[in-house]
Each structure stands twice: as structure tokens, then as C-alpha cells.
């Protein structure tokens, strides 16, 4: 290789590193919500009032005029569907009832089988191979240069044919108010983009519904005021302090989780990573579209909780859905590789581990937590080894909408 060719390769490698650096450099967790709150608060009061009024008027106008005959027709169809459903002994997944199909009841013919939610939406993931939480870059030229080529060297067996899919109703302002009231917080306003903003003695609280893109679960955010005391627990580490804070504020997660603390910077972050139980498999983490685990975070500075953000408690319906096989999942992950010919040489990425996880799939009034397979691997660039993740849907394609 001549000197120029070698230099070109080095520059391409540097460009890829810059792409990754810019795609993955993000502010600390919670900063975006804090800033959004500040922006909302910066609006003059008359403008806030005008926006609230405009929103109300728009909401009223948005309600369509429905002819009585159309309502009658919908009711008849709904009644027929209920009767047919009962005849076939299908599980209808009642609201908040937490009902589940027994996997053994799943029909053998996968083309006919569909869970009781009907076909579920297909999840959208961040560009495969991104190192961590970022949207795909709009820099197409550089993205093409970084097109990865995946290989699979691990062992992955999936001994289950079905797994639960969870569904929730989009939380209303009433649900947000109930959550806040249970914590002792009082409604202040309903800023754009949030279900409500509330205050308590030593913190302010914001509650938000589902975010479509990048997909994000309904969540709450607690911002401590200066009145928030430090956690007084002699000899307690950050996890103990976070546990005490959550217990004092009735925020201890009611779902399964693992907990770990990141003490590498100030504030210290305590992460409670949510898990779903998959019969026959075990616990599966909830992850964001970039593969990072999701759940609840408490930030502590000098033993004082400064921010807590977590999943809004919601009732979940559940129904079992048929999964792809391990081989099909591996093929799907490898298919995420860049073009085989033309352009610069693809970057080789060795995928070696796989696990079942859950991802949020927003879908309007109802959204879903669906199983997916998270592949992780490594890439070596300039003598440095880095981690990469690839997510593929786990629900069988015949059970999903395209």
C-alpha cells in the first residue's frame, strides 16, 4: 500500500471515530427535561394562557361529528367481535387485568397464530452498530463509510417458542394527577409536551406520556429544590441512599429490577434496570432503541438526591406471541451489515453474545413492550476494542404489521 493510500485509510478511520464521537456525545440524563422545563417557564404568562386556550379550542375542534348511524354500526361490529372471541375462547386481554395466555396453548401452525392484541407493530431501532444512545446520523456520506459487516461467533439458543407482549393505554392527565397526588404533589400547570407539572415541599415533578421518536416510555421526573435534605443514613452507599429516598417518597419500583451505581462522576447515578419475566427463559431487561437499559435513575450529589426519573407506573395487559427462532434472529442481525461491494471496506464487527430483551413500541392510544434480541459484539479500530449493539425484533414477522 502506498503512503497516500495508507493516509486515506487513516483519515477514513478518523472520520468514523468523529462520527461516533458526535453521535454519542450527549448531555447528562435529565438535562433535556430540565431545559425543556426552563424553556416552558420562560414564556410570559399571557402567552402561556393563550397557548393553553388555543390547545383547548383545538381539542374541542378535533372531536369529529359522528353520525348516530355510524356509532350504531360500530357498536354492532364490536358486539359481534366480542361474541366471536368468546366462542373461540380467545384471551381478550382486559384493561389492566394482567391476563396471560399459557404458552402451551399456542397453536402449532405459526401462520395462523396471533396473540390476542392482533398483529403488533414492528419496533424501530436506532441505526445498528451504534455504540450507544443516539439517533442515526443524517450525515449520509460518513454513515456509508462506516457501514459495518457483522459476523456471529457466539452461541445462542432460544428454548421458548412464545413470549409475552405487554400493552398499555396511553396515560391521561387524570392518571398523571393521581400519580402526583399519591406522592403529595400539587398540580401547577400543564406545559406543552407534558401531562402535568407539580410541586411538593422539596421538589418539583413533571409527568410525561409516551414519546414516539426516539421511543420513550411514559415517565416522571423529580427535580429537587434546595429544601431537599441529604439522605441521613450513616455508612450508606449510593444505592442505599437511593433506596431510602425512593422509599421515603413512595417511589420504590413495583417491577423487577437489578440495581447498580455509577460513581465515576458527580452526580453519582444509581440505575434501576427494569426486567420482564419471560416464562421458560427468565428475566429480560427493558432496553431503549439503542440497546441501553431503561428503568429508573436517581442522581445523588453530596448524598443529596438531585434528580430522579423513572417509568410511570401503568397497568399492563399481556398476551403471548410466537417468536422467531435463534437462527432467524442471528440471520436478521447479520443482515444489518453494510453493502458487500462498492464503497469503502466495511468495518468488521464480531457479534458474540445475544439475549432476550424488551423494547417499547409506541402505537398511539395503546403502546407495546415487545420482546427483541439484543446482540452485542466488539469492533477493533486503531488497536482499540469497542462495544457495539444490534437489536432485532423477536416477535415472528407473521405476527407483526410490516
Amino acid at each position: 500500500m502506498n503512503v497516500n493510500g495508507e493516509e486515506d485509510l487513516e483519515l477514513q478511520a478518523l472520520q468514523r471515530q468523529l462520527d461516533d464521537a458526535f453521535e454519542t456525545t450527549r448531555p447528562r440524563p435529565g438535562f433535556d427535561d430540565e431545559l425543556w422545563l426552563r424553556m416552558q417557564g420562560s414564556r410570559p404568562a399571557p402567552r402561556r394562557l393563550r397557548d393553553a386556550w388555543a390547545g383547548l379550542v383545538q381539542g374541542i375542534r378535533a372531536v369529529p361529528v359522528v353520525p348516530a348511524s355510524a356509532v350504531a354500526a360500530v357498536l354492532v361490529v364490536a358486539l359481534l367481535l366480542v361474541m366471536v372471541g368468546r366462542t373461540l375462547h380467545l384471551n381478550t386481554g382486559g384493561s389492566g387485568a394482567g391476563t396471560a395466555l399459557n404458552p402451551a396453548q399456542a397453536p402449532a401452525d405459526r401462520s395462523l397464530y396471533a396473540g390476542s392484541f392482533g398483529r403488533v407493530p414492528t419496533p424501530a431501532f436506532a441505526a445498528p452498530g451504534l455504540p450507544s444512545g443516539s439517533l442515526p446520523s443524517s450525515n449520509q456520506g460518513s454513515a456509508a463509510a462506516a457501514a459495518p459487516r457483522y459476523t456471529w461467533t457466539g452461541t445462542f439458543t432460544l428454548n421458548i417458542a412464545t413470549a409475552p407482549v405487554f400493552r398499555y393505554h396511553e396515560p391521561s392527565t387524570n392518571a398523571a394527577d393521581q400519580f402526583a397526588t399519591a406522592l403529595g404533589a400539587v398540580l401547577q400547570e400543564r406545559p406543552s409536551g407534558f401531562l402535568g407539572s407539580y410541586t411538593a415541599a422539596d421538589y418539583s415533578l413533571k409527568v410525561r406520556g409516551t414519546v414516539q421518536s426516539p421511543p420513550s416510555s411514559p415517565a416522571y421526573f423529580i427535580f429537587s429544590s434546595t429544601a431537599m435534605p441529604a439522605v441521613d443514613a450513616a455508612g450508606a452507599g449510593p444505592i442505599d441512599q437511593a433506596n431510602v429516598f425512593l422509599a421515603q417518597h413512595s417511589l420504590t419500583p413495583q417491577w423487577s429490577y437489578t440495581v447498580e451505581a455509577d460513581t465515576s462522576s458527580d452526580p453519582v447515578q444509581v440505575h434501576y434496570d427494569r426486567q420482564f419475566d419471560v416464562p421458560g427463559y427468565g428475566p429480560a431487561y427493558l432496553v431503549r432503541s439503542d440497546g441501553a437499559r431503561d428503568g429508573l435513575q436517581v442522581s445523588l450529589s453530596a448524598n443529596r438526591p438531585v434528580l430522579a426519573s423513572g417509568l410511570l407506573p401503568m397497568g399492563l395487559d399481556v398476551a403471548d406471541y410466537r417468536l422467531v427462532s435463534a437462527e432467524e434472529a442471528i440471520r436478521a442481525a447479520l443482515a444489518a451489515s453494510g453493502p458487500a461491494a462498492g464503497g469503502p471496506s466495511p468495518t468488521p464487527i464480531n457479534l458474540s453474545q445475544a439475549e432476550v430483551v424488551y423494547v417499547l413500541v409506541p402505537a398511539g392510544d395503546h403502546s407495546f413492550y415487545e420482546p427483541a434480541i439484543l446482540f452485542t459484539g466488539t469492533i477493533t479500530q486503531n488497536g482499540q476494542t469497542q462495544m457495539r449493539r444490534v437489536l432485532v425484533p423477536a416477535v415472528d414477522p407473521s405476527q407483526r404489521t410490516p
Binding site: L11, Q17, A21, F22, T25, P27, M39, S42, L135, Q386
Partner: protein, 168 residues
Amino acid sequence: MDADRPPFEDLYRDYMGRIYAFVRAQVGSSSDAEDITAQVFMNAYQAYARFEARNATPSAWLFRIARNATLDHFRAQGRRDRLRRTIEHQPVAEDDPAGQAEERIQYRALLARVAQLPERQREAISLRHSGLSFDEVGKLIGCSEDAAKMLYHRALKALKEAVQKEAL
């Protein structure tokens, strides 16, 4: 609302992280980057009613505000102060067992090196890798598309040399 103008919420969701990364590569300090990013979006939020989509893409409009805010920051702080803080925020070799953390440190180091490039080179690299076209980069820093390309490539080579020098 202008039919061509997306809701500000969408703009905020799509660009907040990218603007932060752009600013972070300019100032080399996460706390300064947060302050400037906040200023950028406060300004943009106030001015959005006057934004006309036919004159610029939302991306170019936001990055112009970000660039101006960053320049204001430098003017206010002074170049010497900025260099001092850049050096203070040089990444340290933290003993973190997680591969991801190593990756973050490596990228932080790379952005710190970008922050030490001459102003126009730094801007060319940061804007280009924030997703802007060379045409948009040129318009923002006041030169032609071809000149922006040349500036970018010179900056890339300078960065490579800086990286190699530090590795020795």
C-alpha cells in the same frame, strides 16, 4: 403556524443532542456546553415564530444560533480562560472496567483535541460531523462549498497529526 415549520418540540427532540455535541466539541467542557446549549434553545424558542423555513433548514438555523452563542461565550470568557479550562477538562485515564465507559473516554479525548484546533478548522469539523452538508457549513462560516471542503480536509489532517503526536 407556518405549514413548512415543524413544531418546536420536534426540533428540540431531534437536535438537542446534536447541538450539545457540537458545542461540546467547541468548548471542551461539559458544564459550559450545557450552559451554551440551554442558551441556544432558549434563544431559538423565543425566535421560532420568526423562523422562515424557505430561507434555511431548521438544522442550519439552529446551528447558526449555536455558533453565535459559542462565539459569544468565547468573547465573554476570553481565549486564555478557555484554553485554561480546556486543559483542566482534559480526560483522565479513569479506571473504569466497562467497555462503554472506555469508549466514552476515548471520544471525550477526541472532542477535546477538536476543541484545540484553530477556530475555523474546529467549526468545519464540528459542523460537518453534526450532519451538515458542505454547502451549509460554507454558508455558516462564510465561504464557498469548495472552500468548506478544503478547510474540512485540512482540519482532518491537522487533527490526525495531533492525535498521532499525542500517541507518541
